[in-house]
Amino acid sequence: MEFSGIPLKKLRAAFFDFTSCEGCQLQILNHEKNLPDFLSLIEIVNFREISSDKRDDYEIAFIEGAVSRKDQIDRLKDIRKKAKLVVSLGTCACYGGVNAIKNNFSIESMVDEVYKENKPETIPVQKISEIISVDLEIPGCPVSKIELEYIILCLALGSVIEKKKYPVCIECKQNMNHCFIDKGSLCFGAITRAGCDSICVNGGLPCYGCRGPSASVNWMSLKNILIDKGITEEEILEKLSLFNSLNEVIKDEN
């Protein structure tokens, strides 16, 4: 296959789910109109959501979800061995996601609280890149199908994948939203990487940064701004850790 003089490679892909809500996998099947075109660019050899066929000859492994059990570690390592390219799909895989909230509590107290019986064996939540090397991260809770389509196309064409460097605020302004900060509320859009079309703000919720930090983060200034608005540091930090995706921005603070 060829596209305008460029060789086009149909990639063998596998999708694996770890600890997550499986929302990202559902996104893959979203955008029905484009689905046949999407599926013609990749050959899916392993995907629990759509087929019971399971083959191990995949080139790309998409990993959804974080790691929270010991057995998952071996499974991941096995995938890494087989795949040429490992892609973390979604905020859970890239950062730990909402699951990582449990790391704020001791494992025992947490398990006792959640499960009355059949207590599972569990470990602190880890993102995929803490266990194996990851070639590409596509954050988002859930991932943006449009972005996923773009990335698959780039992989098939062997083109450089461009990541947006600007923050969510740009998309928020394109959608003509009134800024949460001007309303006196908290929002992390100014330090979060764009690409979701500011979907939360459009829907009336602030951005909690599920897509991770943008290429230019000025955390000290944003924190001062939010404190000036009367938001407590405690609340700021609590909201900041919602997806475990913005933790790195506070590193320079100390």
Binding site: F3, S4, L8, N34, D37, F38, L41, E149, Y150, L153, L157, K165, Y166, P167, C169, I170, C172, K173, Q174, M176, H178, C179, I181, D182, K183, G184, C187, G189, A190, I191, S214, A215, S216, N218, M220, S221, L222, I225, K229
Partner: protein
């Protein structure tokens, strides 16, 4: 230009009829800020009653009617022999009602760049010439500083401009299109007392400005103060989020992004308004960034407003609407930045 008056009742009929036959955009309330002030935007309206005629200013400027945030410059259609490029400039006529003087003056500045001089921009011209503009005078808000930039009065760039003089509006008619439309309704000749009331109202409005900044010699000051610590001070606050440029009525710069449709049959070349505050504005291949620090980028935004634009057109690019501060999460106020540069804030 013709000068007439129109009664408030007749204006209502006039606008109502315009709305019936044309896509019409006017200020409506969309939100409220922390101090409980309403936030306005230009939205499509279906009746005169929806319009907030006494609005203050729109949160975003009207520039996106002329420079959409995103716009296809062209599309490519692939075939066996290669591809074919298609460009489409078609725009349906529309009406903007209630536009402020500063916003009309902002359009005139955009006209300089995009309509006059080298490489006129057909996309902009198609939109500009298909937009019927009815302007409206208003009392300045406490933070408006358009008077300092000489943009609180309009002389051209609109079709009709209205000033409230009590029972009626004093009306400037600036296009034959406007003149023809007004044939549909009764308008009156300007009487002695109308002129008096108009001048009185104009003087009253002019006296209400509270925010001022001296911009004389600003272009040279920008060069002289290029290494000033003022840039560091404000750059430290700046989040490099680009909101200021998105809402600014005269910021026009852009980025271009091409996307191949998943079907592999077409691709689009999309223009997207950008901001020089964004980190990769001046970044080139290999990662070299000509403006790596947020202070470099913030400085550059002021430099374009008050130095670069002056070099090309002998006037500042800023019209003093202060939207950039309202939209800025860090509350960066252009008046304060310029005063700092003038060393007026040092006690």
């Amino acid at each position: 230009m013709l000068f007439k008056t129109i009664t408030k009742e007749n204006l209502r009929t006039f606008i109502t009829n315009i709305i019936k036959e044309n896509q019409t955009f006017a200020p409506v309330v969309v939100s409220t800020d922390a101090d409980n002030n309403p936030i306005y935007q230009f939205k499509k309206v279906d009746s005169f009653e929806e319009i907030k005629i006494n609005y203050t200013k729109s949160y975003s400027s009207i520039k996106n009617f002329f420079l959409p945030y995103k716009e296809d410059l062209s599309t490519f259609h692939f075939n066996e022999n290669g591809w074919e490029q298609k460009i489409n400039y078609r725009v349906n006529p529309r009406v903007l009602f209630g536009v402020r003087a500063c916003d009309i003056n902002a359009l005139i500045k955009l006209d300089q760049v995009l309509m006059k001089g080298s490489f006129p921009h057909p996309y902009y011209i198609a939109r500009r010439k298909n937009t019927f503009i009815i302007g409206l005078d208003h009392e300045p808000m406490a933070d408006c500083f358009c008077q300092s930039l000489d943009t609180n009065e309009v002389v051209h760039g609109f079709d009709i401009f209205l000033t409230d003089i009590g029972p009626k509006y004093f009306m400037l008619i600036n296009s034959s299109k406007a003149f023809n439309l007004l044939k549909n309704i009764t308008i009156e000749e300007v009487k002695e007392e109308d002129r008096e009331n108009y001048i009185k109202e104009k003087n009253r409005l002019a006296s209400l400005f509270k925010s001022h900044v001296d911009v004389t010699g600003m272009a040279n000051l920008m060069d002289i103060e290029f290494e000033s610590s003022v840039w560091q001070k404000w750059g430290d606050k700046c989040l490099s989020c680009g909101s200021c440029a998105m809402v600014c009525p005269t910021c026009y710069c852009y980025t271009v992004c091409e996307k191949i449709n998943l079907s592999l049959k077409t691709a689009s070349k999309e223009k997207m308004l950008y901001s020089c505050n964004l980190i990769d504005f001046a970044e080139v291949a290999g990662g070299h960034n000509f403006r790596p620090k947020s202070s470099d980028r913030l400085k550059y935004r002021y430099y374009h407003q008050h130095r670069g634009f002056v070099e090309s057109f002998d006037e500042s690019k800023c019209v003093g609407c202060n939207r950039c501060q309202k939209a800025c999460p860090a509350d960066i106020n252009p008046v304060e930045v310029l005063r700092d540069l003038r060393k007026e804030n040092i006690k």
